[in-house]
Symmetry: D2
Subunit: 338 residues, 4 copies
Amino acid sequence: MGTRVAIAGASGYAGGELLRLLVAHPEFELGAVTAHSQAGAPVTSVHPHLATLAGRNFDAATPAALGDADLVFLALPHGESAAVAASLPAHVKVVDLGADHRLTDAAAWTAYYGGEHAGAWTYGLPELPGQREKIAAATHVAATGCYVVASTLALRPLIDAGLADPADVVIVAASGTSGAGRTAKAHLMGSEVMGDVSAYKVGAHQHTPEIKQATGATSLCFTPVLAPLPRGILSTVTARPLRPGLSSDEVRQALQAAYADEPFVHVLPEGRWPRTASTFGTNSAHLQATVDLDAGRITAVAAIDNLGKGAAGQAVQCANLMLGLPETTGLAINGVAP
Amino acid sequence: MGTRVAIAGASGYAGGELLRLLVAHPEFELGAVTAHSQAGAPVTSVHPHLATLAGRNFDAATPAALGDADLVFLALPHGESAAVAASLPAHVKVVDLGADHRLTDAAAWTAYYGGEHAGAWTYGLPELPGQREKIAAATHVAATGCYVVASTLALRPLIDAGLADPADVVIVAASGTSGAGRTAKAHLMGSEVMGDVSAYKVGAHQHTPEIKQATGATSLCFTPVLAPLPRGILSTVTARPLRPGLSSDEVRQALQAAYADEPFVHVLPEGRWPRTASTFGTNSAHLQATVDLDAGRITAVAAIDNLGKGAAGQAVQCANLMLGLPETTGLAINGVAP
Amino acid sequence: MGTRVAIAGASGYAGGELLRLLVAHPEFELGAVTAHSQAGAPVTSVHPHLATLAGRNFDAATPAALGDADLVFLALPHGESAAVAASLPAHVKVVDLGADHRLTDAAAWTAYYGGEHAGAWTYGLPELPGQREKIAAATHVAATGCYVVASTLALRPLIDAGLADPADVVIVAASGTSGAGRTAKAHLMGSEVMGDVSAYKVGAHQHTPEIKQATGATSLCFTPVLAPLPRGILSTVTARPLRPGLSSDEVRQALQAAYADEPFVHVLPEGRWPRTASTFGTNSAHLQATVDLDAGRITAVAAIDNLGKGAAGQAVQCANLMLGLPETTGLAINGVAP
Amino acid sequence: MGTRVAIAGASGYAGGELLRLLVAHPEFELGAVTAHSQAGAPVTSVHPHLATLAGRNFDAATPAALGDADLVFLALPHGESAAVAASLPAHVKVVDLGADHRLTDAAAWTAYYGGEHAGAWTYGLPELPGQREKIAAATHVAATGCYVVASTLALRPLIDAGLADPADVVIVAASGTSGAGRTAKAHLMGSEVMGDVSAYKVGAHQHTPEIKQATGATSLCFTPVLAPLPRGILSTVTARPLRPGLSSDEVRQALQAAYADEPFVHVLPEGRWPRTASTFGTNSAHLQATVDLDAGRITAVAAIDNLGKGAAGQAVQCANLMLGLPETTGLAINGVAP
């Protein structure tokens, strides 16, 4: 008999991807699947791609329903995680896909999200140095934000190795539309987004403090871009080299060294740059980097699936660690392409 | 130790999807992976999404390389399958994803494909009545064409049940661009296909005789349409009812009865129509049907992933049967969406 | 001084395209531009592509504002046109882009739209035999529905010439998402529609009676399909030939004869099939047809821009006729591609 | 009788857009339309959207054919412009859409394009200070590169006003696929680009020296990104402020002052960021900028149509100036959207 897992907030895009992963996970048994406004509705009326769940309805979001599980995934709107987590029995482990418990700096929370900070949980990015062990020992984990995963995997090893200056980081990252959620909004309609690339929340995106926290950047200029694809993030990160004459090879080697044993992080062969399509449906990240000697800048690029390594995949990876399972269980490395 | 499987023609889209399925298949061990023009090149230079194959190169397409396997998948251009199959040891089983051995009517082959017919193999559509057993007993199987799978799953039970008239079938089916293959052609460039829907080979598509053979239609008007998505087929099939007053319920019940025990075929709840996105990355088909009393026509609609149930998924399903494995092994039912 | 034109309902997609055409029209002066819920808001907050209207706000939808024009375009939700038209002074001409006044059969209206029929106006499809003159003489014109334009241009000449049997017409037509309007709906979000083709309202679409009325079809099986592009309709129309041995040449000649003098209708060279991309941004229709002797069916295919010839372009064409201007004034024939 | 204009290289995407603009231009009469490999083929076999050119074939690329015009547009592969220009009579004016004559630095040419530099012509970006007059007086003009237009319009006024430091400019720009040309290539197939965002030529794109030349940047880190849309460039430009405490208002005012009288450059209202879709089919650029005080960086974003203001539109704008016509003749300001 497997570990019993439940989802609070299963009707959104991250919730749907979680459901897809959980029903295929060989060690998990699916418990409650709650969705506030959709309680009682067929799961396939919201997620018609989840054909094996035909006949199943969303559960009402009660503490009893969720408390029956060994581990609960929270995929709730900002500000709702703390109350649901508090309503659960003490032995129930929790992985939060939302932002509520990621930041350690309460002031940064208030500045970017508003309201009072609910406090930090163990940060759910296993590829950070020493973080895998902390996650394995934790009962409450806050999985990383989508832009943050991509940007951090590309930049953090370069800062840690003393190659990149944390004091002047520039990131421009393109995201697919599922990152903006499932609520119907005029600017996210198909007619609006197909054939369009646009910038938004320039210098003001709520992932800014989290990227600084996760990468160690002390100054960050972050521009998010909405691109016409359902899934995928391509983050282009540039920083100044801290050593004169730093070569592209040294930068690539730093990435390779950092991720040599990581199953989900792939530093591409020289000359090949990341494509989001290669990560579609996976928990993988693809990386490449170079040094532009003329410009005096390192450029590192990362591609992920924002619903995979950027949300649900990452959450399952954390859950695997918390439950003592092999970290890759139930997660895809190879993308669905073309 | 698993069954050893090989692929001839692994650099195309169907070949790439096969590779993705085979490396994740719990009972298969990957043998030779050949690609004529790409022999020696890294697999990830062609299929960058298959990150677990980093370090592996395409093999040269020699009989020795392929003959080492228990089962060989052929994903070759039209006309090349027979020679490769003939070069293999007698004990090696073969599943052909190409068209060479699907048609039983040599004249139809010559009319639509040109040249001499190579002869028919066991037809690889397990959901046809009695076909599952034939496939399980076969050594050589010709997996079904992509438009044919979608159209046949929608129409065949209605003809078999005496509900639909085989003498005036009209099919209009939209396909994603991967169905047209991986060879660079001007009209398939991204700039051309994005934002465009177009008809092609109207009344002249080579799947026409195969649809007639597989469905039992005696007259078929078939229009293929190219739509701006990488994967997916939506086939709209209409035929006259053979019984006056035939109701939508009766038609739906015929489909439900035909597929009650089929793991991959999903007749949707009333009022919900198939979407290709729901089948992305799967071996599933989604079906719905209705009777338009005013028009005097049954309309049945099927959605599949042309690279899944329309090609590589179907081929793996057949291989599972031929090897005595559970039919669903290594195949997804739930789609990757959105 | 030009003719003064106004728009009621300028915040939708058809209204936006009308605005784009009217500000570029050499004979028109733009009067009131009303939008019920957006009154007072900057036009560019809804239509950021209309840069020349920066500084202009939507007007409140009052009879006085609209009554100041020589001709008013109505781009309103179903059921609202009659009241607005009645509020205008008698000398003001009206072109309705909505469905309210298209059907001559009140019962058909009630069956497909519900409620009481508001009565028929002159039907705004100038390419129908004799219709151009009626439109030129009319004060109130109901412009054609988008699926109807494409389907009618392909089929009507074949019925009129006695080549196609009106008693068993099958149409499957794919539309871009702008045809579904600008109101935010979950199933029309970019994440849902990109990568997806789906059928909807099968056998039940409200354009069904209008297609029958405009083409002369006495029995029609109509399946609309939603495709992942912002604009464009590709209508595939099939009907039985009324003459044995009817050739593709005869069918093509009937189309060529019907449209020899039409500036906006282009029968393509033999062997080339319509693409919606070729009509993007235009008032053009591209046509092709063939006879499938084996199937015993004529297949005719038409491509249009659903917001152009399917809505705003058609409305301007009608207005040009009603005002005695050259019919092509202010309308594009060449598409914006790729 | 209008000015006679000809195109050398009319079968590519830039050439096709030029054709579209020239046939609609009220002051131009179309002369030779040459296309090396397509000579004799119908124009609509390559550009099916140009319906008014049905019946016209591409001309052979002879000096006599082109020399008959008053002005010739060159839309040729790199390295071919000089020879064609030299073959023309002295009185024939020339606008080159290619890169051959843009750079003033021969060493930069050789480093990024290879081979010997053909020499610089008058630079065809009329919005640069004093450039409009030079273009009007010139006989040979080199129109600007697509990434360059977008990046320069956003950055140049900020450097000129002493607000932005030219010594550390970072640009990440996303382009639609038509920017990569019309030649069939595997990585540009629809199946590859739909659903994909990827980086390419990171730190090595040939527009790098031209952006430096046109903006005055002395150090530039430039990352191009391929996005899944046919047309459009969104350029995100960041630079350090030269004045402590520089406000977003000051930056916006510098842009507004620079472009107050420019018909094609639109600084958006505060809080609204550029979208490529708004510029589709136009010669317009949409701009917005802000200062991120925390990061210590100015961020300016520009959107254009890469085939419009980034190629053919710009070329027509230059031609209008060279011929003494109103600069906006035959060019659209309002986009075709959605």
